[in-house]
Amino acid sequence: MSGQVAQVTTEKKSLRLLVVEDADDDYRILLREVRRGGYDVTSTRVANAGELTAALAQSWDLMITDWLLPGFGGAEALEMVRGHDLPCIVISGTPNEDEAVAAIRAGALDFISKDRPLRFVPAIERALREAADRRGRIAAEHELRLSEERYRSAFELAPEALFTFDLDTVRIQDANRSTLRIFGRSLDELRAGGFVQFSAPRLPDGRESRAVATELIERLLAGDELAPFDWVLVGADGEQIPVEMHVVRLVSDSTRSIRVTMIDLRERRKLEEVRRRTIELELQNRRIQEANRLKSEFLANMSHELRTPLNAIIGFSELLHDGQVSPTSPEHTEFLGDILTSGRHLLQLINDVLDLAKVEAGKLDFRPEPVDLSRLIGEVVAITRTTAATKHITVDTACDPALDGVVLDPGRFKQVAYNYLSNALKFTPDGGRVTIRTVAVDNDRFRLEVVDTGVGIAPADLSTLFVEFQQLEGSTTKRHQGTGLGLALSRRLVEAQGGSVGVESTLGVGSAFHAVLPRRAHPGPHEVVARATPPPRAGTRTILIVEDDERDREVIASTLARVGFGFEIARTGKDALARCKERVFDAVTLDLLLPDMSGVDVLEGLRVGGWLQDTPVIVVTIVPDVKIAGFTISGILRKPLDRDALLRMLERAGVHPETTEVRVGAES
């Protein structure tokens, strides 16, 4: 027995036992059995709810409760310890099956009769074991839950947009807050819709989103790894959202799903945009500074170019004025000539500068009219004849006979041709040869060419030729005979008419300057004014004869009538303007000397006010060398009138007596 006790002592297990029992004897028996079972027991006996509550403030390994107590019971005790993680066994002096079932239901691990004390210890052992198991299980579950929560919050609160996507259902499974924020939708909305539904129809490269998505999913299902790719989402408010997708396959998942990290590119794009704009502004700033520098340079050059001829004008004038030059000396005449030349040079310079400024501001007027190119070239050659003759330079002209029906501003054309020709003469040594010619380029354009046998231009200098004041070094003559603006002005004049200029040159061989111009000049910007549809006209072409002289009127009227034109007559300018407000004429013959107003004023009235802005006007005059500035005219007829010349001029202006076309205006 003592040996047994000793054995028990060595195996003693501590047990904190809470007993709910009203009978002291029963309690003692219980403790004896427990001790016998090898437990070093610490225990308390309680017999009512108050005592139990107080006892529960301590920690217990096990509770054993009597089923029936005066004023209390096992069921109540079990109820009170629920949630305390305290295993319980119920003992009963009067056991029956109903009590046992009720006790187990209330949470007891066992139900034992007081009559069988030998069962106490095994029941205690089993209850403790079961409680330990349960605690382990609960701890494991808790651990799992914590881990899940940690993952969840990492997923949920990640600054990156994350979502998982089921490849089989082709739906979003889960999405974190950042993702929902980018989509601008709830998780339920995302789960309910197909992914393509939230995508723009097309990707930035133009491919269809649906087709690309299908292909990507197929590749993922086939086991491919995907490189990050661009995508465009459509937010709830319809905004297109560029994103970059990074796909990670979820290995452990039994479903075929992927996890996607989505990068909102809008911020990045915004930064890129800011950077781009910064660069742009910097460039713009540099351009402005460059323009400013060029402007200062232009002013400095301008000042220089004005002072140079003024030096001669003022200097020589002072000498002459102060009587320092004898009036009878040859210098007297020579210096006057120098003043004159310098004055003219100054005027040319100012004209060129004004023209340049006008072209620059888009305010230069072009007055296109049908021209005879060979005649214009002849006039230009005539102007330079003296220069050419002095240097014994042969000037050849060649005009392409196929070039007829050219319409352009003759003055501006001559300006360009003159600049080219005088330049060529300047740089061609004595006895050289200069050719000026016009050649058709195609149906719409022709080319003016001036070829010389001059000194030629170094390739490095070709690009500065058409720039203001960029006179080339190394030629003493050029600096002082030109304004340094001629070629620059020519380029601008040609470009303003929709053409282009160019030069080819070989040092020592010569240069060829050219200008390519439209064969039919487009109306200048000043003519492109929105107009109402003119009144309809059809049937006989009718010409307005503005003429106060009865005999001339008779000649014009009979000439027109003979070939089938209709006509109306206005004897005064006022009458003419009034008629033009009432109807459209196909052409007008205009006498410049009218009783009430000048022909030019009438012309202005026709061009600016009525429907006649484009109508051919033939000026008929006895004034020799008439100059009509400001308005396009089709031609000038000198009196006495040449009937055939009048008809030719009308024909050239496109006015034929018979009706061959119906104007669009006539249909409305």
Binding site: H304, R307, T308, N311, A312, G315, T476
Partner: protein
């Protein structure tokens, strides 16, 4: 009679200044670029140089710098004669070594006195 070298590539200006200087009793030699000017200076050392600053090839500024660093020519007074009258042009001329600076158009009434002043200043030394 003092000799004056006029360097200018503009024939009209050259004619004007030559007439003006000559009518005040100076002997005039002319050159239309830097190379010809150097040749003149070597063969007929002038008492004064009227220098256009914009010459084809080697500029008047560069020629002035060259003359003012050469001990043989540095004492010859140089009057810059230029149509450039913008801010900084005057300073540039003086920096290159010009003794004076005249902007075109020149004043024919005061110009001879300017020349005389510079010649008086240097004559005792030469």
């Amino acid at each position: 009679m003092s000799r004056i070298l006029i360097v200018d590539d503009n024939p009209t200006n050259l004619k004007l200044v030559t007439f003006l200087v000559r009518s005040h009793g100076y002997e005039v030699v002319t050159a239309t670029d830097a190379v010809l000017a150097l040749r003149e200076i070597q063969s007929h050392r002038p008492a004064l140089i009227l220098m256009d600053l914009q010459l084809p090839g080697v500029s008047g500024l560069e020629l002035t710098r060259q003359l003012k660093t050469d001990p043989a020519t540095r004492t010859i007074p140089i009057i810059a004669l230029t149509a450039y009258a913008m801010k900084g042009d005057h300073e540039k001329a003086l920096a290159a070594g010009c003794d004076d600076y005249v902007t075109k158009p020149i004043d024919t009434r005061t110009f001879p006195e300017l020349i005389a002043r510079h010649i008086r200043r240097t004559e005792p030394a030469s």
